[in-house]
Symmetry: C2
Subunit: 306 residues, 2 copies
C-alpha cells in the first residue's frame, strides 16, 4: 500500500506573534508526506530549484518517502512569505514566487503509475489533472485546493473534481466553490460536482466530514500553545490519507478514524515541522485516545423526570 | 427538583437576512425557561411592564414554569433591537431600552428561596448578587454574562463568580474576562475566579466544557436552515441546566450529556421560539441520538501497518 502526492515543496518565510522564520522548508507536499509517512509509504511528485540542497532533503530522510518523482530544475524553489496575527486561523500572504513551479510538468516514474491512494495537494488543477492522466491504476483519489484556483481556474478544477472521491477544503473555500453560505448545502452542491465525500476544515474548530448518508463532526485538540499553523491543513490531510491507505478500505468508519488521525497530526504540526517530524507512533496513538476522551459522552438510558 | 432563573423578559425586534420580526417576546429568562421546562420545573425571577399582556404570557402557559417571581411594574418592558448579517454568529445591537429593568429589585417569593439549581442568566451582576443573597439553600449555581458587564461592572461580576460553580460565556467574552487570547489558558484563569466548570459557547462550532481534570468538545448540529440565532445561548443554557437539575447530580458524565441536551435545544431555537416551544420530548431525545452519531468514531484496535 502506498500514497502518491503531487504538490509544492517550498521555502516559507513566516511571521507570527511568537516569532519569525526565514526560508524554512515547507510546501503542501512536504507537510503531507511527513505526516502520511507515519502510516504508509509515500511517493512524492514535485519540483525544487538549485537552491534546494541535500541538507534540505534531510526532513524526508529515514522515512518511507520515495523522492524519485521530485525533479531538481534550474532556477529557484517556490517561495511563500506570510504572516499570522493573533487570529491564527487566517494567513496573510505577503509574497509568492512560483519560480521552478511555474513551468513544472509532472513526469511520473513508472513505478508510481499504479498507486492505491492519490492525494492531489493544493496546486494548479492543471498539474493535478496531468498527474491523474499519467496514472494506470488507483483506488481512491483525494484532493485539496484553495480560493486562488476556485477564482482563476474554476473549469479546470471542476474537471479534476469529476474524478475525485474526496475533497478537502476550508469553510470559506467550500462556500466559494458552491456559491452557498450554508455549509450543509455547500457540501451537498460540491458532492454533485463529483466527490462522494467532502471534508470541511475549520482550523481550531475541527472538521466536518460529509458523506452520502451521514455527517461527522471532529473536534480540534484544545492547545495551550500554537506557534505556527503553516502546513496544518496539509499535515491533517497526511494523517487522513496515510491512515486510510494503511487500512486498505475506505469505509465510513475508517474515514472517521482517519479524520481523527489527521487532527492528531495537525495538532503536532502547529507546534513546528520539527515536532511533526520527530513523533513516535505511540505518541500519535496516545493523542488519538485523547481525542476519544475529548469527544466522549454517554448515551441516555431513560427519559429525565419530566 | 427545580431550577430558579433570574434574567430578562423582553420584547425583541430582530432583522436577519431571512426576515424581520417586531417586538416579539424574548429575553434571556424567557428562552432559558422554555428550554429548561422540558426537563425540570422552573421558577422565574424578572420584571415586565404594563405593555406585557396575558397574551404574551402564553409562551409560558401549560409548562412547569412558576411566574410568581415575575413582577409587573409601571412602564415599558425591556426592549432590544438587533440585526444579523449572513454571519449569524454575530449580533449587531441597534437599540436597547432598559425600561422596567432599570430599577428592578428582585424579591424572591418565599417558596423560591430554597431551590436546588440556580441559573443567573445574562443580566446586571448586581441583580445576580441580590438574588443569591435572598436564597437560603441551593446545590449548584450556573451563571451567564456578556461583554457589557465585563467592561462596566468587572468587580461586581467577579464577586458573583466567587459563588458560581459553572460559568457560560462565548469565546470573545472568555478571552476578554481572562485577558488571554488562548481559550485553554483563558478557561484556566476563569476557574481561578471561582467557577469549577467553564463552558465556552462557539455558536455553529459547538461548545467546550472545561472541568478541573478534563476538556469536553461538543459539536453543534449542522443545519441547513438557521433563521434567527436570538436566544440560542439562553436555550442552550436551559437544556444544560434543566437536564442537570433533572439528574440531581453534577458529575462530569452528567455535565457532558447536559451540554448535548443544551445543543439540542439551541438547534431548535435557531429555527424559532415557536419551534422551541412546541417540541415533544421524543423529538429532543431523537436529536440527542443524532448528536451521538454525529460525533461517534471507533477506537483503534491495533497499530496501522507502519
Amino acid at each position: 500500500m502506498s500514497v502518491i502526492v503531487i504538490g509544492s515543496v517550498a521555502f516559507d518565510s513566516v511571521k507570527t506573534p511568537f516569532g519569525e522564520v526565514e526560508k524554512a522548508i515547507g510546501g503542501s507536499a512536504t507537510y503531507f508526506a511527513v505526516a502520511a509517512s507515519y502510516f504508509s509509504s509515500v511517493r512524492l511528485v514535485g519540483a525544487v530549484g538549485e537552491d534546494f540542497t541535500d541538507e534540505h532533503l534531510r526532513v524526508f530522510s529515514g522515512r518511507p518517502i520515495d523522492l524519485s518523482g521530485l525533479q531538481r530544475r534550474p532556477g529557484q524553489t517556490f517561495y511563500w512569505k506570510g504572516e499570522y496575527g493573533f487570529d491564527l486561523n487566517q494567513a496573510h500572504t505577503l509574497a509568492v514566487q512560483l519560480n521552478v513551479q511555474e513551468n513544472f510538468q509532472p513526469e511520473l516514474p513508472s513505478h508510481y503509475r499504479s498507486t492505491d491512494t492519490v492525494f492531489l495537494a493544493n496546486t494548479d488543477p492543471e498539474l493535478q489533472q496531468l498527474m491523474l492522466e499519467q496514472m494506470d491504476d488507483h483506488k481512491f483519489i483525494a484532493c485539496d485546493s484553495m480560493n486562488f484556483w476556485i477564482e482563476n481556474k474554476p473549469d479546470q478544477l471542476k474537471k479534476v473534481l469529476r474524478s475525485v472521491d474526496m475533497l478537502l477544503l476550508n469553510e470559506a473555500e467550500a462556500r466559494q466553490l458552491a456559491e452557498d453560505p450554508n455549509l450543509v448545502k455547500a457540501a451537498g452542491k460540491i458532492m454533485q460536482l463529483g466527490p462522494k465525500h467532502v471534508i470541511i476544515k475549520r482550523g481550531e474548530y475541527g472538521a466536518l466530514l460529509f458523506s452520502p448518508d451521514s455527517v461527522f463532526a471532529a473536534p480540534a485538540y484544545p492547545l495551550e500553545f500554537i506557534y505556527d499553523p503553516t502546513g496544518a491543513g496539509d499535515s491533517f490531510a497526511g494523517g487522513v490519507i496515510g491512515y486510510l491507505d494503511s487500512t486498505g478500505t475506505f469505509s465510513e468508519a475508517n474515514l472517521r478514524q482517519a479524520i481523527i488521525f489527521g487532527s492528531v497530526m495537525a495538532s503536532y504540526n502547529v507546534v513546528s515541522l520539527e515536532r511533526l517530524a520527530s513523533l513516535s507512533y505511540p505518541e500519535i496513538e496516545e493523542r488519538f485516545w485523547e481525542f476519544k476522551k475529548l469527544s466522549h459522552f454517554d448515551g441516555i438510558e431513560s427519559a429525565p423526570c419530566q
